[in-house]
Subunit: 135 residues, 2 copies
């Protein structure tokens, strides 16, 4: 049994080269725009600047046949099972990014510190649990 | 453009009825077993009891045509755009669960406090960022 992801939008970012992209958002990643499909507009209506969200992406340039990696691509470090790493290369390459909403302009949402590459498909957006844990 | 998720395993849990399942893992959810496909065994080799991981699931009993919900199903609360909620009902119903590994027995991994239903497909497992943020 397989399941089909229909992206709800894509990332617009100055990051275009995987070799230049930071590995995590808190490692010097730039702001980016999330550009949503018109069909999901009603789902966006309660997002506000300042909201902390978890962005899920599909890392469409990742390899899916990788089960062990050298952490951070450093071959001096031992190979590690991929489910103990944050490598983009994994059987189902879903990216997880904690970002802050900076601006909302209709179907375009600006977020801070996103390490995803330009054009990366968006899978979902969820509030960070905690003060919004009951929503 | 769409993308295909091939589950890497499934959840074994005493939870079988969506109406009985807690909404989040910290709301009285039981332990559960993650049962992985033999093909991904090399990816599991560094998971150890005590590891804090993010489990991604495919919420296969969710509706995908929902863009606004009453938070927690409480119709006295105003409808909210689904991307500001943790509702399982959303265009791409990927579940996000922070759990602790309690035991590893080959392809079976026991975790704490999981609100996913029995049979839920597993999409991915990642380490929680922080002390393992560099892997």
């Amino acid at each position: 049994m397989t399941y089909v992801i229909e992206p709800i939008g894509h990332v617009e970012s100055p990051l275009t080269d995987p070799d230049d992209a930071p590995r995590q958002g808190d490692e010097g990643a730039p702001p980016a725009w999330l550009v949503f499909r018109p069909a999901v507009r009603p789902g966006l209506r309660d997002l506000r600047p300042g909201d902390q969200v978890v962005l899920l992406t599909w890392l469409d340039r990742a390899r899916r046949d990788v089960l062990a990696v050298h952490p951070r691509g450093d071959t001096s470090r031992p190979e590690t099972g991929v489910f103990s790493t944050r490598s983009p290369h994994r059987p189902n390459p879903v990216g997880l990014h904690r970002v802050t909403v900076e601006a909302v302009e209709g179907l375009r949402i600006r977020v801070s510190d996103l390490e995803a590459l330009d054009g990366t498909p968006i899978v979902d957006v969820k509030p960070v649990l905690g003060d919004v844990g009951d929503r």
